[in-house]
């Protein structure tokens, strides 16, 4: 082989290598696009909510209230809106049979009583008049309206009956079915009814867990890293500790869940299903990640800076606190955010410590029972109702949004606050 041929071969090899590299990146992007497309196309409808706008006659007789007197808040609160609701639904089809009346009722979310009551409380002037009121549609009709629900399968295999669909279509023709931004998805806690289920509880649960995790893991990890890197003598024992920290980072998260269950719940008797326990468990998991990031950033601080400070007569502690740690902080913080992002997406350990429980209240403190976003995804993904399918994807979107947001933050800190030294 002469020199010329050899050169051509080398160039070809390089071209091939570059092609493989590009193909690999393309593959990775393709997976990402397919994944995101699937999530978005399934989930975006969850941000819309279907309402049925029906004429409601706030008739005093139907509510068993005195027609001549304006009802007080107390009167309205005491009134029976269940029977009133049924009477209202009958107006949609005055010829309905007993069974059909029940079907009419099932076209609405079971919160119709509350919705009718709150409308009257908010609009006391409607008393004695017939007004249009917006009521939450049941998840079956919600899915029908969004087109997620096949109408052409036999009736006995469908949750929405032919009768319901007939009424629904009639309302639709009259423009009495509207779709609006689904605020309740963000303000409601979990519910057995898909049309009412929201992420408020799991979001707060995740937030509290992350805060607990951060406030434990960050200081502990920073102190451990600073001591190991700056003060500890380099000997077999510190080597042993270092190896074990790295091992800890590789421990499957479910093991930490078992630890939380066995120690935090069983021995210390902390309240089950709470973000407090979840946060402590997650902090065990995040600890090695932050320690490793902090040590790497401390190592990256040039020794000349330490020598400069020491030669000025700064003590070891002053050198560390005034120079080394501030310079290592950006790297440590971005490592911390990455660790927290991992913790935010963690499911297994939280399931073990009971954060998988059905929680229909919004937690106010880390000591209240709560779910978390990834666990909420798990719970909803297990539910049979079709309405939960879009909720799962929507919840994934919310989680992804926060993960991307946190990773961007980490990136930003790295770029912006990184001190440049020559």
């Amino acid at each position: 082989m002469n020199k010329e041929e050899r050169l051509i071969k080398r160039y070809k090899a390089e071209k091939r290598f570059q092609f493989y590299g590009k193909a690999a990146i393309f593959m990775a992007l393709l997976f990402l696009v397919v994944f995101l497309t699937k999530i978005f196309s399934t989930g975006y409808t969850a941000f819309q909510k279907t309402w049925l706008v029906i004429p409601v006659n706030y008739n005093a007789d139907l509510l068993y209230l005195d027609p001549d007197k304006k009802p007080t808040t107390e009167d309205i609160n005491d009134a029976d809106f269940y029977e009133f609701g049924i009477e209202t639904f009958i107006t949609l089809d005055p010829d309905a049979s007993e069974d059909q009346i029940m079907e009419l009722k099932k076209m609405f979310a079971f919160t119709f009583e509350r919705e009718l009551k709150y409308y009257l409380l908010d609009n006391p002037d409607s008393f004695g008049k017939t007004v249009d009121v917006k009521l939450t549609a049941s998840d079956d009709l919600d899915q029908v309206f969004k087109g997620n629900y096949p109408r052409d399968i036999p009736e006995n295999r469908r949750r929405a009956s032919d009768y319901q669909l007939k009424i629904f279509d009639k309302l639709n023709e009259d423009g009495r079915i509207i779709s609006e931004f689904n605020a309740s998805f963000f303000t409601n806690a979990d519910s057995r009814e898909a049309e009412l289920a929201g992420i408020a509880s799991s979001f707060m649960g995740s937030l509290f867990s992350i805060l607990v995790c951060l406030s434990i893991a960050f200081p502990v990890a920073l102190l451990a890293a600073v001591y190991l890197e700056e003060f500890a003598p380099k000997n077999r024992f510190t080597d042993f500790i270092e190896v074990n920290i790295n091992n800890l980072a590789a421990v499957p998260s479910i093991v930490f869940g078992l630890l939380g269950l066995g120690v935090l719940l069983a021995v210390f008797g902390l309240p089950r299903s709470t973000p407090l326990v979840g946060g402590i468990t997650l902090s065990l998991m995040t600890l090695p990640t932050i320690i490793i990031a902090a040590r790497a950033s401390l190592k990256a601080v040039p020794p000349s800076i330490r020598e400069a400070a020491l030669a000025m007569g700064a003590s070891k502690m002053q050198t560390t606190m005034h120079h080394t740690v501030p310079l290592a902080l950006p790297g440590t913080l971005s490592g911390t955010i990455i660790g927290l992002a991992q913790a935010l997406g963690e499911t297994a350990p939280l399931i073990l410590i009971g954060m998988v429980a059905f929680v229909n209240t919004i937690p106010g403190t880390p000591m209240d029972p709560a779910a978390s976003l990834p666990v909420q995804i798990y719970i909803w993904a297990e539910s049979a109702e079709r309405g939960f399918v879009e909720k799962v994807s929507a919840c994934i979107m919310v989680l992804l949004f926060f993960l991307i947001f946190m990773n961007l933050g980490a990136q930003l800190i790295r770029h912006k606050f990184e001190k440049k030294w020559n």
């Binding site: 000349s304 330490r306 030669a311 007569g313 003590s315």
Partner: protein, 251 residues
């Protein structure tokens, strides 16, 4: 009068001995140059004088180093106070990644030298003036010190060191990373600083040693071969090795 007296100083890096039985006296308010080929132990000796070798885990120092007649190698020597008296300039300029002002105010701050803001301002200005840097940076003392040129950075480091008025300044090849013009500025500065400080400078350049120093010590393979006035070492050395080195036969 001898500012520093080193007696029987041995230094080991792990099992390897780096300095062998060094005995050397250093005169006050003079510039003493330490010369010798690479790896001869001159920097190691310099770092014995402010105990910077403590930073290196495997480094063991024995022998007596007296500064102002006080042995600094005792167990209970306070290295913080020692380094307040014995400042050091490094081979590569190493300003803190902070502003010029903060670079200089750091020493006085941790040693509690300045009582007020105006006093601190005075110290900063005085130090920068003494380091012949004031005129160049007076309009931007609140900008990062790392933005200066190499020579300016090294003068900033000198200003930082003299801000706490050390009695002794150690310089470890302070000009090796600088261009000839910056080197000339630093050399001029060294001559100026000699009035108030005792200076010990490690250098690779024999011409630099001849230009700036009054006394010179020649190191070779961890031993102090010869020490004396710079004139004598360069013109009339007693040892053959010194003669060979300064005439450029090896090193």
């Amino acid at each position: 009068m001898n500012k520093i007296e080193a007696k029987n100083v041995d230094v080991y890096y792990g099992a390897k001995q780096a300095l062998f039985d060094i005995n050397m006296d250093i005169e006050a308010n003079k510039v003493t140059a330490l010369i010798g080929p690479s790896g001869c132990g001159k920097s190691t000796f310099l770092r014995c004088l402010n105990r910077m070798n403590d930073v290196i885990d495997i480094c063991k120092v024995s022998g007596v180093v007296k500064i102002n007649d006080y042995d600094i190698n005792q167990k209970d020597t306070d290295v913080v106070r020692l380094r307040e008296k014995v400042g050091m300039i490094f081979q590569k300029p190493n300003p803190f990644p902070k502003t010029i002002y903060e670079n200089i105010s750091y020493g006085p701050e941790i040693h509690g030298i300045a009582q007020s803001k105006s006093e601190m301002d005075n110290i900063v200005e005085e130090s920068l003036r003494k380091a012949a840097l004031w005129e160049e940076v007076k309009d931007r003392i609140h900008e990062p010190g790392t933005g200066l040129s190499g020579g300016q950075q090294q003068r900033l480091c000198i200003a930082r060191t003299i801000s706490i008025k050390p009695e002794v300044i150690l310089m470890d090849e302070p000009c090796s990373a600088l261009d000839p013009i910056a080197t000339a500025q630093i050399e001029e500065l060294i001559d100026e600083l000699r009035k108030e400080h005792t200076i010990i400078i490690v250098t690779h350049s024999m011409s630099q040693a001849a230009r700036v120093s009054q006394n010179t010590g020649f190191f070779h393979l961890g031993k102090l071969i010869e020490v004396g006035s710079t004139d004598k070492i360069f013109k009339n050395p007693t040892q053959q090795q010194t003669q060979d080195y300064i005439t450029g036969r090896f090193g």
